[in-house]
Structures are given as C-alpha cells and as structure tokens.
C-alpha cells in the first residue's frame, strides 16, 4: 500500500508540473481538479441530465423486439448495459474482457437471426477489434449494433481510453453506419432507429448522467439526416456529438456579443447528409466551422470539406474545431476541454474570432 501511495504522489507531481508548463493560467488560485477517469459525467454543473438513456432505451426496444440481445466485454456497467442485463438477464451475454471474441460472437449470433447490441469502449472497438468488426460484421453485413462509450475526449485517463480516431476508422469501413449523438434525448431515439436499419451500425455513447439539451429544440433524430438547430448570419457551425451541445452553448454566449451563429447538427457521420451540408454552407458571407469531438484527421471536418469541394461550394472561410493530431494529455476533463479548444468558452472564442474575419486569430 505504501509503495502504491508513493507512485500516486509521484504521478500527481508530474501532472502538476505538466499543467504549469502547458497552461499557466489554469494553475494558481483554483481548486485542484482531479483526473476524470471512466465514470466522469460530461455534464456541466447544474445541467439537466437523464440517467443511462441507452440502457433504458434498449430495454424499451427489447420489450418490442424479441431478437434484441445485449453483449459486452466486461464493461456492462460502464456502457449502461447493466440496465438491460437487469431487465433481461437471459438475453444478456457477458463475453469477458475479450473484444475480438465479443464482435466475432456478435456476428455469429446475428447470422442466426438475432440483433446483438455489443458494447465496450470506443478505443477497444475501433483499435483492438477493428479487423473482427471489418470482416465478421461489416464484410459479412451482419445486423450487429456496436455501442461504444468514451468517444473522443470524454475520459481524462489518457490515450489508452481516449478514442480520438474512431470516427475516421469506422467511416472508412464499407457497410458501416456511424452515429455520433449529442445528448440523452437523441440517444433514446437512435436506439430504435439503429434497430430499424438492417445492417451494421456504430454509435458513440455518452453514458451515466447524460446531458439533456435537444428536447428544447423540438428535435427528432432521423438516420442520415442533419438538422439545423438554429440559424444566424455570422457563422455556421457544423457539428456532431457533444460538440453540438458546445456549439449551442457557444451560440448563446455569443448572442450577448451580437454574433448570431447557425448550428447544423450532423449526428449521422455516415451516410452523411451532404445535401443539408451543402445547402447550409451555400449561404454566402458566413464562415463554416466544423466542430467535432475527434481528431481533425478523417472525421466530420474532413468529410464536410470534401463534400463542399465536390459540390463546388467555397464558403467565406473554413475552420476546424477538434482534437489535435497528438496523443492527448491525462487530467481533468474541464482542463483538457479548455486545453484542446472544445469547451463552450473556447468554442465561443474561436467562433467570435473567425466571424470577425479572423481578426485576433483563433482562441
């Protein structure tokens, strides 16, 4: 125990040095923020939330559809699948900490007519089990739903648990539908929509106490459809996942500065709603800013850029808000979201700078 405590202290010392070096403004006078590991909620203090929306939605779906199964690789509690396992213990398969087996067996169950929802963390599905998903699920076109927690930067645990490149990897996979929902309201609707789609699908999951935002916008999820949540002449933000939440918060902040921001929410990364993206970007005079909780390589940003180039649409400017091409730091999520420019305040700063024609540069 003593040795363990010693290691922990040394880590803390390294961490604080690191923060001082990289982000001097965050250091002095503030309470020390601790590492946001796997169970941290991304909800801001005081934000409306709903508990385990995926788990409850899957239970509701399973009541309607007897083919629905739940499977996990030792991460049931951490993907909200425990809700399903409690409701339908006989329809739940615990596969152990074996992600290759999880997805291969999911393919086998799907080939026998079942509809498995297989859960793990996004890093393990996209990185460790990629070939198994590619060959046994996507190539064989099996009706497996892959639901993965900790997408992008939603853990402060370090690169082992930060799935910065999952969208790029799954976008590149033929047959795979890729969905990056924003909040609890949307996750509840994505679950039955995935079931209605006959084929493989990947959903990035926000788990635990999940923020509730889109219900206030009269929003309905439709697979393959982007939705304009608000309009404005000064900038167009095209976003997915939790970055839509951040874009909406930033838009509220900027309204006080008389900057009116449009937000186009693109929850389905593949197939991409190219028509809606082109139509929104065609409005002249406003910069296009793509915001995603993902590396700037190969995700929504580059997908939008290619879409616009193919359509011959040249917006006033094109910017990306996303994670850098780097192994991200460990630490507290608020610190890290600030550091990498994906907190609401940082997003607002970037939009403001870019909507002013670039004066002052990016925040």
């Amino acid at each position: 125990m003593a040795a363990g405590a010693g290691r922990a202290r040394r880590r803390e010392a390294v961490m604080s040095t690191h923060i001082r070096k990289n982000a001097p403004a965050a250091a002095a006078g503030k309470p020390r923020l601790t590492t946001s590991a796997m169970i941290a909620s991304i909800a801001a203090e005081g934000q409306r939330t709903k508990p385990a929306p995926f788990g409850h939605a899957l239970v509701a779906l399973a009541r309607e559809n007897e083919r629905v199964l739940g499977m996990t690789a030792d991460l049931g509690k951490y993907t909200d699948l425990h809700i399903f396992a409690q409701a339908f213990p006989e329809r739940f398969h615990q596969m152990g900490m074996a992600e290759q087996l999880l997805f291969g067996a999911a393919s086998g169950l799907a080939s026998e007519g079942f509809m498995p929802f297989a859960t793990t963390y996004a890093v393990f599905a996209s990185r460790r089990a990629y070939d198994f998903i590619h060959q046994t699920i996507a190539e064989e076109n099996r009706n497996v739903k892959i639901v993965c927690a900790l997408p992008g930067l939603t853990s402060g645990y370090g690169p082992s648990h930060q799935a910065a490149e999952d969208l790029a990897l799954f976008r590149a996979m033929p047959n795979m539908v890729v969905i990056d929902p924003c909040d609890a309201h949307e996750i509840e609707q994505v679950v039955p929509a995935m079931a209605r789609h006959d084929g493989p699908a990947y959903m990035r999951l926000l788990r635990g106490q999940v923020p509730l935002v889109l219900d206030e916008y009269g929003y309905t999820f439709e697979l393959g459809k982007a939705k304009l949540l608000r309009d404005g002449p000064d900038a167009l933000v095209i976003s997915s996942g939790l970055m839509t939440m951040r874009a909406l918060e930033a838009a509220d902040l900027l309204r006080k500065d008389k900057v009116e921001v449009a937000v186009l929410h693109v929850p389905t990364i593949k197939p991409l709603d190219e028509a809606a993206i082109v139509a929104a970007a065609r409005k002249t005079g406003r910069p296009v800013i793509v915001a995603e909780n993902h590396t700037v390589i190969g995700g929504l940003g580059e997908a939008v850029a290619a879409t616009l180039l193919r359509a011959g649409v040249a917006p006033a400017a094109f910017h990306q808000i996303g994670l850098p091409d780097a192994f991200l730091d460990a630490g507290a999520l608020p610190t890290l979201h600030d550091r990498y420019g994906i907190s609401a305040e940082k997003v607002a700063g970037s939009i403001k700078a870019w909507s002013d024609g670039g004066a002052g540069g990016a925040a």
Partner: protein, 282 residues
Amino acid sequence: MPMSQLGHNIPIPERARNIRRNALRMGEVQGQGYIAQALGIADVLAVAYFHAMTYRPEEPEWEDRDRFLLSNGHYAIALYAALIEAGIIPDAEIETYGSDDSRLPMSGMASYTPGMEMSGGSLGLGLSIAVGKCLGLKRKGSDRRVYTLFSDGELDEGSVWEAIMSAGHFKLDNLIAVVDVNNQQADGPSTSVLGFEPLPQKLEAFGWFVRRVDGNDIAAVQAAFDAARAQAGSGRPSMIVADTLMGKGVPFLEAREKNHFIRVDAHEWQLALAALDEGKPS
C-alpha cells in the same frame, strides 16, 4: 442417419477421392494454390459432409442444417471441392475457380458461395463466430451443431484462445472444431514458428473434449466425429486434433518440402490425377 446420406451409398473413401479430384481440377485452373492442404484435409471433409453433418444440398440455408464454418479461408479450394461433391455447388463451376466474377474466389467469403457460412482469410476469426452461432442455436432451442475447421497456424492468434476459453465457459457442447495439424504455415513448420504442443492437454485444461487422430485415417476420423457428437448434453465443446499429411494421395506432392502454396507445372496435373486414381481408396 444424416439427411445428406439419404439415397447415397458411395463409400466415404470414394467421397474423399472425389474431393481430391475436384481440388486438383480447380488447382489446374490457376496453376497454383493451396493444393497440398486440400489433399491433406479431404478425408476430414469427406467424413464431415458424408458421415457427420445434416444438410440439404438444394437448400444451403435450411434452418435445420448443421453449420460449417471455414476459418482458414485459404482452404476454400478444399471446401469447394467438398461442396461440389455434396451437390451444393455445380461441378461445372470448377473451371471458374479463382477467375473474375466466379462464385469460387481463392479465399472463402460468405457472400460469394452457397454453403460458405463465413468470410475467412483473416486468420483466427472462425472460432469466435462459432461461439456466437452456438449460443444462437441454443437460444433458439435447436439441437443442430456448429462445425468449424481451422489450421494449426491459427493457434498463434490470441483470439483463438479467447474463443477456446469462452466455449468451455459457456459449455458449448454443440460445437465441434477441427484443427488441421499439418505442421506447415507461411514461414515454416508450425511447431517451430510458434509452438503449440502439447495441444490436447491445453485444450482439455480449457474444458474441451479432445480426440487426436491421424486425419488421413478415415475410420479414425469417423470415430472421432462420432465421439464428438456424443458430447451433446455433456457441457463440453469438442476439438478434433487432426494430424494430416499435406499432399496426401499424390506422392510427388507429399514429398515436396515447401508446400504451403505450391506451383504445379502444366503437365503435372494429369500426373497428379493419375496418381490419385492409382492409390485405391483404403
């Protein structure tokens, strides 16, 4: 009696010889391929398709069939040869083997070929899929079995051991796996590339019923399949460790040292077929 045998009185050794002939004829189309493996595993496939398994040739996706998963996709030439002998694929398609737009690609894929239940080729996938299918069959209350063939080289893959551990854990006594131990993989003898012996003891420690047999002794292979099928209700998955001789039945191919992927000269195909006919089915 398995459905496939109704109305047939062709002895298993004759079936095995026909499978070898079909494989050689496909090999001739490409002039090369995984011929030696096909000749080596022909006896096992003959027992699987003409002794052990239940299926309907005219209805490859019949719900009450036994499933067969080919994990080592490069053995497709061998499985096609068996599927042709079983009447699931027409004999006339032999000449399309490995050609553009053929239903018989060099590596087996589920969407191309009737009777091909998975896309192999990326080695180490089959047993995981088999675990899922076994769970699915039990869930449906079906008493059908899942047979899966994989190669000794695949024992290098960690995923194979994930599946082996889970099949024991889930008590999948509807699973019958066959591992082809021909001791040859891409870079050399399997036992020296990455040793896996003592294999039966390892498998038994994982809760499996194991029979190790000479995979070219048809009577022994039949007995092993029968013993494995008798495991229904035991809670134990079965593994048949089949030691096979690559090139079996064609002496000049048996003698080749590097026979993982072989080229055969044009004039040699007829020699190979003739050699096959000379060696009377035992």
